[in-house]
């Protein structure tokens, strides 16, 4: 098991290197450089040229790539944002917390919906309950997250006024206000989290339903039934446990998916997280922020699939890796 984890971990290294390379190429292809933003009327062209030389912007691309990577690995230095005039790590740090809180709440809601619905739908398949749940999963598959977000925002945010329509906390609130501050934060999270969770959960519901129906026909369940175990015991102790294990393994993918998907939901709800920051950094041509975020999104996906593989292996020891 340790060997598997280690091997799978090592696979991430080339993946991350190629990713960093792609990110660097995107940045190379973009017009302008880090000094285009710091246009100071007192600086002459010659002085800018000296600055460029000092910053190493005139170096060949492989030297710049190397400097960039070394900066990240040794000093955790992702450069400076020229829109915000501060280190990239500081800006991302500010926003990352919001996105992580949003993703966590989304995950909680997702599983809170998926597990009961999947179990009901699987255990009572082809009844009216199952039909209603299946109709819901069809709807979820057909609905883009953005449309779900807009509909929720339109009805519960604007028309009913139950939830705030933007930001991550009410204006004027500060952390030293204690509980009201945290409640306000939670209040701002609910609608965006719900709009993602209601949609993304349908995959898990369907998977769980399929697993349960499949497991019911297995021989070991027949054995359990033959031994006279009552139905609740058959389901709770034998079927659900086996059906829920693979769900745990999807956790890694879900996390990666949620962080990548934050771009859309944060834009719909004008929520100050890294997804919104990413869009802003592209429209504002803030390359250092953009590069760091693409790197972050990519790394999250790579680490997410690593986590999923490791959990999958813990759950199902038959899985092997080359």
């Amino acid at each position: 098991m340790l060997q598997f984890t280690l091997r799978r971990f090592l696979i991430m290294i080339p993946q991350l290197i190629v990713l960093s390379f792609v990110v660097f190429l995107i940045a190379l292809a973009m017009p302008g450089d880090a000094l285009t933003g710091t246009l100071d009327p007192n600086l002459t062209v010659e002085m800018l040229e000296i600055q460029r030389e000092l910053l190493g912007l005139n170096n060949p691309w492989y030297v710049r790539y190397w400097d960039w990577i070394v900066g990240i690995v040794t000093r955790f230095d992702f450069g400076r944002s020229f829109t915000w005039q501060m280190p990239v790590t500081a800006i991302i740090g500010e926003r990352l917390g919001n996105t992580l809180r949003l993703s966590t709440l989304t995950l909680v809601i997702m599983y809170a919906i998926a597990i009961p619905l999947g179990i009901i739908s699987g255990r009572h398949h082809d009844t009216w309950k199952d039909k209603i749940i299946t109709a819901y999963t069809y709807l979820g598959f057909g609905m883009p997250t953005m449309v779900a977000g807009l509909l929720l925002l339109f009805s519960f945010g604007f028309n009913l006024g139950w939830f705030p329509t933007g930001l991550s906390v009410a204006p004027g609130m500060s952390p030293d206000m204690g509980l009201p501050y945290h409640l306000s934060r939670l209040h701002h999270l609910i609608l965006p989290a719900l709009s993602v969770a209601l949609i993304t959960t349908v995959g898990t519901v369907q998977y769980l339903r399929g697993e349960i129906i499949d497991l019911e026909q297995r021989e070991f369940i027949l054995t359990v039934r033959a031994k006279g175990a009552d139905e609740n015991r058959v389901y709770n102790k034998h079927i659900f446990r086996n059906a829920l294990l693979p769900i745990a393994a999807f956790l890694g993918f879900q996390i990666a998916f949620l962080i990548g998907g934050s771009v859309l939901v944060e834009t719909v709800f004008s929520f100050p997280g890294i997804g919104g920051l990413f869009i802003g950094s592209i429209t504002g041509r803030d390359f250092s922020v953009m590069m760091s975020l693409v790197l972050l999104f990519g790394a999250a996906t790579i680490v997410g699939s690593f986590l999923s593989d490791v959990i999958m292996m813990m759950v199902d020891p038959r899985i092997e890796i080359e």
Partner: protein, 294 residues
Amino acid sequence: MAKKTTEKKKMSTLEILKREFSQDIGALIALGVIVIAALFVIIVPLFIDQEYMLAVNPRRLNQPPSATHWLGTEIGGRDVFALLAIGARSSLSIALAVTLISGFVGISLGVTAGYFGGKFDNMIMRIVDFISTLPALVMIIAFLSLVSGFNVVSFTLIMSFFSWAGIMRLVRARAIQEKELEYIQASKTLGTPHLKTIFKELFPNISSVMIVNMTLATASNVGLETGLSFLGFGFPFDEPSLGSLISAASNAVVLQHRWWIWLPAALFVLILMLSINTLGRTLNRATDARLRRG
């Protein structure tokens, strides 16, 4: 003789489809909706007075629906119904183009990799594995930001570039399964050229998987286009598409008080995606004998 049997087989496929659809009201409705939507985007734009309806007109800004403007007008005074019809045409064309391009690339590479195996397969799978580890939406946006201005061709190509890996994996997996079966082995033993074996033997047997997958991909590509346009990286607002109409809702006033601008497009996307998905599932059921009804 050979021709006769294929004809017979085609008939039975049609019969299976007929039976599947006639036993499932949902599938029939979905099929109807898709036909109506297709006719809508093909026919309606032909009858719209584009010069008048799509002209920026300061005398009719943000009007609610009325007899002359069925879905009202937007912030520039353009008719929303006309925008919806023409926008849906653009969105569907893009979605279909992306499906066809990524389908073509994915199927060609998948069949080649699966059928021949070896070094080519190894190399291509490395690339596919890597593309799959990238967050697609973020990468598409990053690449789109490299292109200055909006351009339908680059938009389609960039979307396609991040969409072929799924179908490629699927087709490769199926090709690997099939090539071990007797009929392919027999064809090879008889000395049939590889290309002929692939097109005459392998293709007919994996075509159903490809059709189902591409149907579902079309739905998700409609979603992708609307998402990208909503974020401001697809169609700009003055070039109508379903996404650019929905993106009007990123303005809180429009979202709250001028629902007729964005809601019809949002519902159009929703209903269309639902129907395409339902169609895809019905086709899937029809191709898999174990799942068939009746």
